[in-house]
Symmetry: C2
Subunit: 141 residues, 2 copies
């Protein structure tokens, strides 16, 4: 999806099209992967120096609420954001070497089933960062 499409979709939900949101979305769409709020601010300010951080955080929260963007905390001190792709995926993160492996949402299907059946609970199992040890670091340790 392109920024314009997201903005149209937001409009239909009663949100306004503002230059700030337009540029924030542009940067997120261009970046192709995970990006932090700080990096968004830096990139937008190259063209539009007056951007305020509140607007960025509020826009990001809006995009997360509407499901256009997924937040992930890799434990680096700042949350990263990524355009949502269907189906969901998760990230395995090696706590030794930092290696990241993407796994598809299906991994959690048995968990979802069990929580629904045994607890009548409908979980959101979206976009987790799962820490652990990768193959190489298991052998080393």
């Amino acid at each position: 999806m392109q920024p314009t499409e997201f903005l149209k979709d937001l409009r239909q939900r009663g949100h306004r099209r503002t230059p700030q949101r337009e540029m924030i979305l542009q940067v997120i769409c261009e970046c192709d992967g995970h990006i932090t709020a700080d990096e968004i601010i830096t990139r937008v300010r190259k063209r539009y120096p007056h951007l305020n951080k509140s607007a960025v955080y509020r826009t990001l929260n809006l995009l997360v609420q509407t499901g256009f963007v997924n937040p992930t905390d890799f434990g680096s001190g700042s949350v990263t954001y990524e355009i949502h792709r269907d189906p969901h995926h998760h990230h395995l993160v090696c706590r030794e070497c930092g290696k990241m492996i993407e796994v598809d949402a299906g991994v959690f299907a048995p968990v979802e089933r069990k929580l629904r059946d045994e607890y009548a609970f409908a979980p959101d199992l979206h976009h987790f960062a799962i820490f652990g040890l990768c193959r190489k670091c298991q052998k080393k340790g």
Copy 2:
């Protein structure tokens, strides 16, 4: 486990027994459940008014690293801490009414198996807060 036992165990790992750590551990052990850093500071200061927040956060991080305490982010704005119990457990949190249900670690066994078998990844599947909808709120919505 009692504060004294934790302190002994820490000592064996090369950490010192300080009055700050002693009182922080006492408060965590007494509280019987989840407690925030801020609440720990408040409670310790009743007896020892000069406690600094850095010491609290550093002690909490130490206790998490050593596995004595589990951190959980319920999305309330501050992380909560809980004495570790074996076996691990997780928390289901209803995003509508806030209801919390404890589930044992076994729920994630199939995930662990799959990640080990298919990705050679050894995950830490400890003490998650899993958001979703409880039975009642599913019916309402």
